[in-house]
């Protein structure tokens, strides 16, 4: 059951988004997020939705997979929707029943909020997590943050920690699965009983998991030392990141779009 986790999974491919430099993708994503959050009117939301759809199409990742990953969000979506419908105070009253007041603006606002969330999640998935390998991503973060080195921020170490953490997620998931099976074989019951009982049932899984995580960390540290790892100082890369003209063009386009959204905000139904 743990193997079903797909949140933040990389799908190898050869689309335009896959080929775009990861550093640029992070910047593009930031521009995209600004646009999504800034959108206020019906027309700007339409633009945002169109751009999101364009990104999904560009990534060539099946729409089914993208939608599947919205599933865990359904609760949050519904929750925000309901909250906004009931608590938004507008001008045109639609329904008034004892203490419940529903305004037309509330309905529109709730719709916009839900749309915004969906665009945020779909956009960041296809721009970054689905189309960027974890290694490229940490490299890009390291590069983008490298100016902070002047302030003695250990940027390389952070990036290395992130790489290692990402690398070990599948390993630990597999390990957890194994330990769960082993304890179930000894009659451990993890699916029934009170909350306290279920929390207690986690002990036989968590302790072996921690023990093995520490063991792995020790082994990895030793292996790194054996290969003369000594931090980021003077370290070169096998894959050099090279920006191309298309990367710059892509980023520029996104920035224009983000600024454009602020302009379109003036038109159409708005809240």
């Amino acid at each position: 059951m743990l193997k079903d986790i797909t949140l933040g999974q990389f799908f190898p491919g050869n689309s335009l988004l896959h080929k775009t430099d990861a550093r640029f993708k992070i910047l593009i994503l930031i521009a995209f997020l600004v646009a999504v959050i800034a959108a206020k009117s019906a027309w700007s939301f339409l633009a945002v939705v169109v751009v999101t759809a364009a990104f999904v199409a560009l990534s060539r990742i099946p729409v089914k997979i993208v939608l599947k990953n919205l599933k865990p969000l359904i609760f949050i979506l519904v929750f925000t929707g309901i909250l906004n419908i009931f608590f938004y105070k507008g001008e045109t009253l639609l329904l008034h029943w004892s203490f419940i007041k529903i305004y037309k603006e509330g309905l529109i606002y709730a719709g916009f909020m839900m749309l915004r969330l969906v665009c945020l999640v779909c956009g960041s998935f296809v721009i970054l997590t689905y189309t960027t390998s974890p290694l490229d991503m940490t490299d890009a973060i390291e590069k983008l943050l490298s100016p902070l080195k002047a302030l003695h921020v250990p940027v390389h170490e952070f990036a290395m920690m992130m790489t290692i953490a990402l690398r070990f997620i599948p390993t630990l998931v597999e390990e957890t699965d194994k330990i769960m099976c082993a304890q179930k074989a000894r009659g451990a019951d993890m699916e029934s009983g009170s909350l306290l009982k279920r929390a207690k049932a986690l002990v036989p899984i968590l302790i072996p998991l921690f023990v093995s995580a520490f063991r792995r960390a020790d082994e990895l540290a030793e292996a790194m030392e054996c290969r003369c790892y000594h931090g980021g100082e003077g370290r070169t890369r096998m894959k050099q990141m090279k920006s191309r003209f298309s990367d710059w063009a892509f980023l520029l386009l996104m920035m224009v779009f983000a600024v454009g959204v602020f302009f379109i905000n003036g038109y159409g139904v708005r809240v």
Binding site: C181, K184, I207, P208
Partner: protein, 291 residues
Amino acid sequence: MSGIEVKNVSVVYGAGTPFEKKALDNVSIDFGSDRVVGIIGHTGSGKSTLAMLLNGLNKPTEGTVLLGGEDIWARPKEISKVRFRVGLVFQYPEYQLFEETVYKDIAFGPKNMGMDEENLDRAVRNAAKFCGIEDTMLEKSPFELSGGQKRRVAIAGVAAMDPEVLVLDEPAAGLDPAGREEIIGGLLEYRKQRKSTMLIISHSMEDIARYADYIVVLDHGKVHMQGTPAEIFHDAERLFEASLDLPQVTKLFVELKKRALAEETDVYTCKEGVRRIKAIIEKRLTGEANA
């Protein structure tokens, strides 16, 4: 004693996705009761999937698993009872230890069964004895022990549930020869006393040839061969097809036969090999003396 049997079982992982994989394909095996069954097969042949089917950790996509003639999935809510009757020891079981003391760790399974104090104590000490764990070790933390000792504690933890069927996935992997001998020897002793069934999954032809009364060879999720050791190792060609090999001592006799030094190749254990070679040497000596 109740026997265990699988009938026409298939297991498909990730059905309906591009990663769909048939781990077991229409497999039928009667493991019987009161004997040691060896399961061999190349990596990815479905051995571990089969093991997890037997105690209900895996549900067959098709087919049935019968324990004592009853389908174990007849009442899915009571599947945990099946897990107490069919004990499964995973590969590298030492990584599942978690309790403060060895005693408590071995007692984890029987406690889950709801055993009372008296029986629990007896079960723990009995299992510990057969797995070669000394009394002084019982109060130690399992994390202080050596790798081989940890393995014993983990196996004892399953044996203490006194299962009717004990399934061991590579019980001796990564142990030194003396440790192998002790662990498997102790378990065999235990099995004999309880008249339970033991299934050993292994890569080692030597171990299987030595301990098993019956052998099942799996290849690509299908039963490739099954029979007594003599039947299996007699058909070396077919064994090679599943990327497996003969026990080394059998290979020695195959070579001896080629050189016309031995007449038969039906030797599967070192003990038997030594006896045969002695006989051959004696025969030659007496032959020379007569000539």
